[in-house]
Assembly symmetry: C2
Homo-oligomer: 103 residues x 2
DNA sequence: ACAGAAAGGTTTGCACCGCAAACCGATCTG
DNA sequence: CAGATCGGTTTGCGGTGCAAACCTTTCTGT
């Protein structure tokens, strides 16, 4: 009861912790850049919803958005930023700490 | 790219995933019953904020609220319900799956 | 060549949520 | 018995998450 170390959930950043954004960052951290359309399918999101989450992440400078073309089709990719990597690492560390409490 | 298994974050339940509620449920799962005032300190929450989260969890039948006295002082405890345990286990399982992707 | 349909996103509108300030009823304390 | 304290709830509001509606460009059929 004299445990005054901060509880793991206090280390979580709300911007990163949101479940879809956690998914976006996780996938983004696994490869150099990711097609938005791939994210949409992998995370089973509506395009609108995904768009807003990407805007939130871009505003927070956790991902960078790159527009371009695939053939003649407009296409968008995202790339995780160094700040995004750091924030994700912090989240993962806090979650590991939390999970340690669950045996 | 033909990975059509649902992404781990899709298995997360928003009621449970919220960071403070995740903390509440985690602590509640670790002992039989917990004083609300202990939660307040451990999670560094304002009383008002905590009260609302507990109401959400109680509404969802994930915790039960027990009112009583400690000496003459009114005091409240919470106890995780079987549904709460199950929901927390599901969250933890999904998080483990997610963390597995992070090496 | 022109009318849809489709691809690939963005914006809008609204309900719900998270938060702390304000509040409430009891119980101690001088 | 006036004020401080404990233990918690309610209120008010800005912010968030969501899908429907919308926009632009590119295919496709005729």
């Amino acid at each position: 009861m004299t445990d005054d170390a901060p509880f793991p959930t206090n280390g979580l950043n709300d911007t990163v912790h949101q479940r879809h954004r956690l998914g976006i960052l996780t996938i983004a951290s696994e490869s150099d850049r990711v097609e938005v359309s791939y994210l949409r399918e992998a995370l089973e999101l509506t395009a609108g919803n995904l768009s807003r989450h990407l805007a939130v992440l871009a505003d927070a400078d956790l991902v960078a958005i790159e527009r371009g073309y695939h053939g003649n089709r407009a296409k968008t990719w995202i790339r995780i930023t160094p700040a995004g990597e750091a924030a994700l690492d912090a989240e993962v560390a806090a979650l590991r700490e939390l999970l340690d409490r669950h045996g």
